[in-house]
Amino acid sequence: MMVVENTIDTFDSPSEERIAKDRYQTDAMWIYMGPQHPFSHGLWTLKVRVDGEIVTDAEPVIGYLHRGWEKEAENREYPKIIPMADRLCYSASMTYTHLYCMTVEKALGIEVPEKAEYIRIVADEICRIQSHLMWLAAVGTDLGNLTIFLWGMREREYWLDLNVRLCGQRMTTNYPRIGGVRNDTTDIFDRDVMRCTERFEKALWDLIDMIDSSSIYVSRMKGISRLTREQCANLGVTGPAMRGCGVDFDLRRDDPYGKYENIDFEVPVLTEGDTYARYMVRIEEMFQSCEIIRQAVRKINALGKNAPYRLKVPSKVPAGKAFCKLEDPRGESLMYLISDGTDKPFRLKVRAPLFTNISASRPMVKGVRVADVPAVMAMIDVCMGETDR
């Protein structure tokens, strides 16, 4: 566990007394940061009640992208749900298909071949890195840094190239299958991956420098919107936002799935709880993901070329209940399957981490100035496909 102590004095978010003293003789106004907003990064509305410059209340409105995913899943056979699961969180599609396949495999009671597990780990971590790079590009535009948008997306293209080499598609890859993965890796996959990680680790320092070297960007994030550990745990906030507040929990280490228990990595945890801590946790996670990818690729090589990567599975799942959890780039995602012996699910429930993270936007945004609201919301990394399902 890596814990970084707060060693620099920072100013605190405005307290209730200061809000009362600062109040200008204006009437409170509700501003709708509406469905079409350049900084909302997704289709949702955040209504903020503003007194002068300071936000006193907030209400998120979601549901613009609701399509009844879980009900539609009851109408399709099990393999047909995999491309649907891709489009749950389109920015991190590989993790949702992995989660879905894990849940059905648990309900069937089968164990996936080892090579497929390690390939899934590599695919998951590639997905995590490219999702975090998309987030970093968006954070840059929110803070006013337009160069990092282009640099971050350029780095992301190299990781999407790896996706293309693995399965032929950049995003919404439709790659894991119930019983393994769709196809084996190529002969030179390890060479491609090692080159990509080496290049990326050098390039990431340039990206970090872009934001950290400017005192303006740092002061826009430090000290804003603090949450305590108890608040975080009670509100159900998960993922890097939670690890920035001091909750030391990562599903890959504490509740391992796949073959994560054989991989050695650190989990970054910070205790300040402000926006800057949530930002730093995600950056450090990208470095750790590179490390995980390298170890998993070495294990794939050790298994050899002819190791099995896919099992044949029956089309009907026996009746029962099963659930699986997975560490999504945005938090803790979960799928709960109730099956009834036919070839279609009876009830398939998806827990999206952003659903609870966005419900926590009200305590996060209270007391913050209006101009800082996009920066605060950017740190949650909004992707509305999974929230509305």
């Binding site: 509406g34 469905p35 079409q36 350049p38 990064h41 997704g42 289709l43 549901g63 613009y64 992208l65 609701h66 399509r67 009844g68 009900k71 539609e72 109408n75 491309p83 649907m84 489009r87 389109y90 920015s91 998309m134 590009a137 948008f149 282009l150 997306m153 350029r154 992301r156 293209e157 950049r170 995003m171 919404t172 509305m384 496909g385 509305d388």
Partner: protein, 187 residues
């Protein structure tokens, strides 16, 4: 042409302005000036509109990530003049890139009305064309052309950035024909 009222055009009421401008237009039409003016300046307007298509910066769903990737260094949509604008008043194109829930329909219609003429609507991705994979959803509109009139359909799920740029080049051809269809000075 009675230009005596011209300096006071801003002081006219709406009805007076309509009457005055109808007189001006009828004069031009009868003299053949309108056709000449159209022929001379039409190509200039179309060249300007073709090479500066400004879509609205609005991401709905998966195709929005590919829309963002199209503006980055590898695919570089900006060499065609495509710059995303945040306010609908400053755009030409409404780009629908995702599935449409019932809650968002008034927003789409309002954004469409807010974009000033001339405008085009591009339906990007299967969900915007015809509902996509969500064919049996109780909350998904089966195609955005039930809400706004669409000029260009770009198929794909998700649309590769190359395909999106190819689609915009087709739209350029369509814009090139805009004034040959004879709409100028009437709107």
């Amino acid at each position: 042409m009675d230009m005596s009222l011209y300096p006071h055009a801003v002081a006219m009421s709406a009805e007076e302005f309509m009457d005055w401008s109808t007189l001006v237009i009828n004069d031009l039409l009868s003299a053949g000036t309108k056709k000449t003016v159209d022929k001379l300046t039409g190509p200039v307007w179309t060249w300007a509109m073709k090479n500066s298509m400004h879509p609205l910066h609005w991401g709905l769903a998966c195709c929005a990530l590919e829309m963002a990737a199209a503006s980055t260094t590898r695919h570089d949509a900006e060499r065609l003049g495509i710059i995303y604008r945040s306010s609908p008043r400053q755009t030409d194109i409404l780009l629908i890139n995702g599935w449409i829930g019932k809650k968002v329909r008034p927003s789409i219609r309002r954004l469409y009305e807010q974009i000033p003429n001339p405008k085009w609507v591009v339906a990007m991705g299967e969900c915007a064309i015809s509902g996509g994979p969500w064919y049996d959803s109780y909350n998904c509109v089966q195609g955005v052309d039930q809400i706004v009139p669409v000029d260009l359909y770009i198929p794909g799920c998700p649309v590769k950035p190359d395909a999106m740029i190819d689609g915009f080049m087709l739209l350029q051809k369509k814009i090139g024909d805009y004034f040959n269809r004879g709409v100028f000075l009437e709107d």
